[in-house]
Amino acid sequence: MPPRKNRPMEKPSDVKGIIKRIFSYMYGFKVHFALVVVGVIFSSIAGVAGNALLTPLVNNIADGLQGEWDKSKFIMILIGMAVVYAVGAFSTFMFQRMMMQISTTTLMRIRNDLFNKMESLPIKYFDKHTHGELMSLYTNDTDTLREMLSNSIAQFISSAITIVGVFALMLWYSWILTIIVIVMLVIIVNVIGFIGKRSSKGFIAQQKALGKANGYIEEMIDGQKVVKVFCHEDKAIEEFDKLNEELCEAATRANTFANILMPIMNNLSYLHYAATAIVGGIMAVNGFGGMNIGKLVSYLQFTRQFSQPITQVSQQLNSVLTALAGAERIFRVIDEEPEADNGYVTLVKAERKGNELVESENGDIWAWRHPHKADGTVTYTEVRGRVEFDDVYFGYEPEKTVLNGISLYANEGQKIAFVGSTGAGKTTITNLINRFYDVPDGKIRYDGININKIKKSDLRRSQSIVLQDTHLFTGTVMDNIRYGKLDATDEEVYAAAKLANADSFITHLENGYNTMLTADGANLSQGQRQLLAIARAAVANPPVLILDEATSSIDTRTEALIEKGMDSLMNGRTVFVIAHRLSTVRNSNAIMVLEYGKIIERGNHDALIAQKGKYYQLYTGMFELS
């Protein structure tokens, strides 16, 4: 998935707060940071001081022309200059090196924080934000931030020091010439303001146009095969040319302003230089205001030194603002509420002693450890996978309920199927069982315990889910199956794969179980991927199994082949099955037919067929399932 660069430019809302926050990530680098500041100061001062030393040097030489040349003073000044410069170069090296350590680590910390938060966000968050949106936090936004951290911070400090230092020296050398400086400063600020405003306006327009063009590219390339089948190539090109032309116009405008800023600033500085030369020259000739040739030479270097940092800062201002806006987006995610989990009922291993369950490291049964706040006692309940819904209402958004009064009961080892059209609420029910979403207290009970009291991670560990879209991770086939149980032995993995009937195709892969899967398992067919997902669920070996359209991409013949495996996988577990294909759900203990978030029919296959209701219609193909 490509990073999307088509977000319009944003201005950060709280610049101070964001900068403060970025700095808060630099903990543990106090010494480094102090060294950076010291280094920057020394490096900038060296530049300024080196020029200042030109004054006595040139005066020394000029005096030497008139009379006796004080050579020892000349050498002393030069040595002084060499020392200043050496310190300057070393300081530059040091602060850059320190800044590098700070910036790379800071970035790493921010990335880790962002990722850690992302992992703990509720599913709801991912419903509302596109992958591209989140992805660009890691690519675009951290990239600009990196730029800022490694260049701009030091640059800004250095510029500020240089500007102040040079200005002070200029004032000290000659207040008359400083008037010219102030006039120039006013002009420069105005020019930057004028061009900067147009430039950022231009860039916003460019980003918009870029977004439109890139969006079109994405859509057309995604649908490339359809474009071909319909010979739509010429029309697509025509449409694209229009967008491309618009983009070109906006981008030219934006870049023109950005490009001419440099020469304008540069030459304003030459104008400044020339004006100073004329006025200073006149003063030096007349000896007015204590001006002499040495001072003038230094002063002229100062005029150049003065404008450089201003130009650099103004050039970087836009990118710094972009970086801060990006940082703000990152922090906004980091500040998101994580998935709430107030559960205190935990999953433990236990063994049976008489009639009592006792917690035990080596126990062979899983149990819920349930501390009671009221009297401080702890009870243990064996994990069986009984699920109970009591008049559950639920909506992803408060005003749009998806489930309207669902009541159901699944006993351990039962197979419960949900049937109904898209949007009827099938997947929603399973999303509540593993608490991807939460419902009010007491509405869902799991092994008799209010599901909201169970710790989310433990609840999910007691269930396995095979989703409609199989997701595989970069790694070997073995790794991917082992995802269900990280400490599974190789034998356990093989057994799970055999159970899911995945073993035969895996062994036919180039490197068998060690075949690397890349880019979401693109080298496997949809059906093969689902088999892997089933194997993954099998290796986890949980009491509850949720199959959400798990076999939709497997053809009926293959499904028939894995049916045995599936049957043994389901054996002894509570299973919730969502399936499009009715042949998959036929042998369930109970089938719930859902419509608009309500269970309209329930019973086993034969009973429902006999009832000749909706299920019968569905089954005989008189009603559409879409």
Binding site: P2, P3, L54, V58, A62, L65, Y85, A89, F93, R97, T104, L107, M108, R111, M118, E119, F126, M135, Y138, I217, E218, E219, I221, D222, Q224, F230, E233, A236, N244, T252, T256, N259, L261, P263, I264, N267, L268, Y270, L271, Y273, A277, G281, I293, Q301, R304, G423, F436, I465, L467, F473, Y483, D520, S553, D555, S583, H605, M622, E624, L625, S626
Partner: protein, 575 residues
Amino acid sequence: MLKKILSYVGKYKKEAILSPVTIIGEVAMEVLIPYVMASIINDGIQKGNIKHVALMGVLMVGMALVSLFFGAIAGRLSAVAAVGFAKNLRGALFRKVQEFSFANVDKFSTASLTTRLTTDVTNVQMAFMMFIRTAIRAPMMLIVAFIMSIKLNARLSLVFLCAIPVLGIAIAIIMTKAHPRFQAMLTKYDNMNASVQENLVGIRTVKAFVREDYEKKKFTKNTEDVRKAQFNAEKLVILTMPFMQLCMYTSIVAILWFGGHMITGGTMLIGDLTTFVTYTGQILMSLMMVSFMFMMFVISRASIQRIYEVLTEEPDIVSPENAVLSVQDGSVSFKNVSFSYFNDMGNLSLEKINLDIKSGETIGIIGGTGSSKTSLVQLIPRLYDATDGEVLVGGVNVKKYDLDTLRNQVAMVLQKNVLFSGTIRENLKWGNENATDEEIIEACKQACAHDFVTGFPDGYEQDLGQGGVNVSGGQKQRLCIARALLKKPKILILDDSTSAVDTATDANIRKAFRENLSETTVFIIAQRISSVQDADRIIVMDGGKITDIGTHEELLQKSAIYREVYDSQQKGSDE
């Protein structure tokens, strides 16, 4: 490679060339200004000649204005050239992709193609702009400033002759060492992003298996790797700045040392000394610029490479010369056809297929996942070329047809189908741009889509949003069928196109086909026996081969596979 890419500067060549030319003007002024400065000091201030100071001062102002003028023009020209170049490149890439066959698209993957057209083009644009702005500027500055310094004082300019190679070699060493480290960093960076991407797509899987901490640990390792690689690469690059300062400062001190002696010895003027100091900055700075330019080029080289790959990819399916421009009828023949996605006879998806289908027949195709049903039908509109043997449509080898002619007569509804942003009507018109309202409604009725379309608040004007998100799977499939019907093709191929449509509607669609498309050859690939059982003939495929052909009844008799599928779908049903 560069030459090919640069050829897309096209009509912006004028700007691309003029921009550096005007920059020469700017550079000339910039180098001359310190020279004038020397004159101000030498002939004006030192001699107390105020008139000369004023004259030269005005000259300098004039030069600065000229330089400003050239600089601004160059800025404008380079913007026009670089942006125009990017436009041409983007346009060329888009056109190229339109020419691509399915095989070409498969080779790159759609995600990668999108990146190449977006991010990579932007990178190249930036690099190009940087290039035309500094490629001439920096070397020009270096050369002119050096010449001027020789003119001022040849002996003193020997200092530069020492400094330039030292700095140049140092930068070259740093860059060559840094390059592989940057490559390594980018790889780590890609890994990290891939890991984020994976977690975004698979967040439900991660959460369902309670693997948040596991993923966090994995990611922390990734970011640590990136940090190390970045530090490794950049710690070399940051050496350039201090080193350049070292060279510059050493040169200045040397110039002052020798210069001081020369001046007092009477072989040099004071003003020249300051000019020399200025030139030191200009010369060494431009050397830095050149090195930055190389950096920029190195960074953008990956992008250039990726764009180049697309541009030079040969579309492997093109219309032949003297193409046949009309399709006689809807008959289809396969003669000894073998097909491999990798053009490798050892890795065949279809093996020695022989098939004769008369015009107007309805053909069902049944087979398991991976039995190459889709591969078979994709050869008919020449979405892929047969690796061996020939495919004939209307009695003519498909390779002899003009592609548009062939594909307009062979409508295919793809398995993974796409609707585009826009209204339903706009989407349907993909089938036939000039379709009348009656024709559109007629097609939708045949595809059983008319009823639900009119149920939308805006009917046929309903906006679908990107990717057709506002319709259900079954509705989408029916719209795609209607879109194909509007082509009024001689051959219609439905590749598992009614899987999300219920059996009753499915039957209605087939009934409509029978009544209205009796002239049209129809291929129906399906998982459900009910979707194909009333076809004229049904092809049973297994492992890239046709195992049986016949009617439903015949196949129940003679095909074990067919019977097995049939049984698995009938089992438990009372009917």
